[in-house]
């Protein structure tokens, strides 16, 4: 087994952690979603887009968890 902080640097699978940045960027860059259209069951885009990112961020966290759980 490799140590996480071996002399060769970080473990390659820890790069999966970059996936954690995706929900952060997607929900903080306001110009992408400050629109009324398209609406979903009458809810403006701004609101359903951000709500949709809740399960999507879960998925990102879950992927990183399964890819790195034996390293953490």
């Amino acid at each position: 087994m490799t140590t996480r902080h071996s002399s060769s640097g970080i473990h390659p699978r820890l790069w999966w952690r970059l996936l954690l940045l995706v929900p952060i960027v997607a929900t903080l860059w306001v110009p992408w979603y400050n629109h009324r259209e398209p609406t979903f069951i009458g809810i403006p885009f701004l609101y359903w887009y951000l709500l949709l990112w809740v399960p999507l961020s879960s998925v990102c966290s879950a992927v990183v968890y399964f890819k790195t759980r034996d390293l953490a």
């Binding site: 087994m1 140590t3 996480r4 902080h5 071996s6 952690r17 954690l20 940045l21 929900p23 952060i24 929900t27 903080l28 860059w29 306001v30 110009p31 400050n34 629109h35 009324r36 609406t39 069951i41 009458g42 809810i43 403006p44 701004l46 609101y47 951000l50 709500l51 990112w53 809740v54 399960p55 961020s57 879960s58 990102c60 966290s61 879950a62 990183v64 968890y65 759980r69 953490a72």
Partner: protein, 516 residues
């Protein structure tokens, strides 16, 4: 007020109170030891950690403050959704390191870690004091939430009798926290979440049906409130305010003492990271509750004559209670109100426990009685949990509460200042301890001045730079100043050769030990 509301509410409240006292016997440990009383013996598994962290993250903030902001100010209030989305990945990446190092060295608080890492009682003291101070307005927000709902149950709103129900709730909270420690809110959180989910699901299904669908609801909202104001040639408008509120709140969240308590009470780091995939379920609830603000606008609850005195007293914070009373039969209003009040009690208990852990470990034992026994330590923590709650009452009395969310935003401005010492410290010893202390001083001073300049009624400061006005959350601006000071002074102090202190930890303490 209807009797059915009051009876359902009281039954649920008495049940939860009993649970709070019974919790002392749950997974029994010696409650005269600080890590048993204040961290539940560090034995909470995935499910209890989930309820516990949900219990302290989703609070009167979620039920009262955020919908109130949406009701009063529109889209900007929805920043709470990206805030909670952004927070988890950060926690995921950072806090397992704290768990490992804290477990290795028996640190109970963030201040314990800072003291060991930087060999600096001063820096640890600043971290501890900041934690205690910032927790008070956050607990105050919980008290405001309870007050609003209890008044809606029909108790008088003025005179000495007005304060009585809140006082009773407050005393019960204090009493079960004192006897059962962290076990009480952990157990109650399970009941609380059930009530919350029932209320929220009913509300987001039934109320839109009553109002003719979301299309009609948003059509009834003034257009200026539906979207964020677009940037102009001179100002970034609401865009920067929205994004900085979300990011600043997320960065502040995970250095709050009560969040660190939840982290350290987990039995292992995998329990934590696994939870980061499940915790967003609470964000969904938060987002749906925020939409209740628009539903309240569409109904026009503030124009219903019978609610007028409540809006006069509690301003926008009354939006959700009014909407529930307007839309549901009496008994179900009782369920919803119980969800809100218990949802405020749980985090208030956890927050006061966290603040008292800080007091005991990082101030009492470090400065006042270094040779104290374990029993003395635990009894100090129990007393401190009472003092912190009274501090919170002071904030309720002195701060304007047009938007209850201001309490939490003010707490954020303060708590975020310990981020460089705590979080950067998990990764590097490069920063100099005195540079961090002076950075803290700068951030704390400027952040508080901005809040005072805005008369504690707003946390958005219009920074002028490059010919633009960039309205943003004061916590983030003051944090940037804090970091800048810390970087510059670290370079200076190193050049001057000022001693940096002895590091108690080694790199291997920050992750799992595994065979080479």
């Amino acid at each position: 007020m209807q009797w059915s509301t009051l009876i359902v509410f009281l039954v649920l409240f008495v049940f939860v109170t009993a649970l709070g006292f019974i919790a002392a016997h749950w997974r029994k440990g010696d409650l005269n030891q600080l890590h048993e009383w204040g961290l539940g013996g560090r034995r909470f598994g995935t499910l209890v950690t989930w309820f516990l962290m949900g219990g302290d993250l989703y609070t009167a903030y979620t039920f009262i403050a955020v919908p109130a902001l949406v009701f009063g100010a529109g889209a900007i209030g929805f920043f709470a959704v990206p805030y909670t989305i952004v927070a988890y990945p950060i926690v995921f990446a950072v806090l397992p390191r704290l768990w490992y190092v804290a477990h290795k060295h028996n640190y109970v608080t963030g201040a314990d870690f800072v003291r060991g890492r930087y060999d600096s009682p001063l820096l640890a003291l600043l971290v501890a004091l900041t934690g205690i101070l910032a927790t008070m307005p956050y607990i105050a927000l919980q008290l405001v939430g309870m007050e609003v709902v209890i008044s809606a149950l029909g108790f008088p709103m003025s005179g000495w009798a007005a304060d009585l129900p809140l006082l009773v709730a407050f005393v019960i909270l204090a009493a079960f926290t004192y006897t059962s420690g962290l076990r009480a809110p952990a157990l109650i959180a399970i009941v609380k979440d059930s009530l919350v989910y029932i209320t929220v699901i009913a509300a987001v299904v039934i109320i839109p049906m009553q109002l003719g669908g979301f299309g009609k609801i948003f059509a009834a909202v003034p257009p200026a409130k539906v979207l964020l104001a677009v940037p102009t040639g001179q100002s970034l408008g609401m865009y920067s305010a929205f994004a900085t509120l979300a990011l600043g709140s997320a960065l502040a969240l995970f250095v709050y003492p009560h969040v660190l308590t939840g982290v350290l009470a987990a039995k292992n780091p995998r329990t934590l990271t696994r939870n980061m995939a499940f915790l967003p379920a609470y964000s969904l609830v938060l987002g749906l509750l925020a939409l209740l603000g628009f539903m309240a606008l569409a109904v026009g609850v503030d124009k219903v004559p019978q609610y007028a005195p409540f809006f006069k007293q509690y301003a926008n914070n009354f939006a959700v209670p009014a909407l529930l009373m307007h839309s549901f039969p009496g008994w179900f209003v009782g369920v919803g109100f119980a969800a809100i009040v218990i949802g405020a009690l749980v985090p208030a208990a956890i927050m006061s426990i966290a603040a008292s852990n800080l007091w005991t470990r990082s101030i009492y034992r470090a400065y006042i009685n270094p040779s104290c026994t374990e029993a003395q330590e635990a009894s100090q923590a129990k007393l401190a949990s009472l003092v912190v709650k009274f501090g919170a009452l002071v904030f309720v009395l002195i701060m304007p509460a047009t938007y209850a969310i201001q309490f939490q935003l003010l707490g954020g401005i303060w708590i975020i200042q310990i981020l460089p010492a705590l979080v950067f410290g998990l990764y590097t010893r490069w920063f100099h301890r005195y540079a961090l202390a002076l950075g803290w001083l700068g951030g704390m001073g400027v952040g508080t001045l901005i809040a005072a300049h805005l008369k504690f009624a707003s946390s958005i400061y219009p920074l002028h730079a490059f010919g633009y006005a960039i309205p943003g959350y004061a916590a983030l601006y003051s944090l940037i100043l804090n970091i800048a000071i810390a970087v510059v002074l670290t370079v200076v102090l190193r050049l001057l050769g000022v001693a940096g202190g002895q590091d108690q930890t080694v790199p291997g303490d920050y992750h799992a030990t595994r065979p080479a």
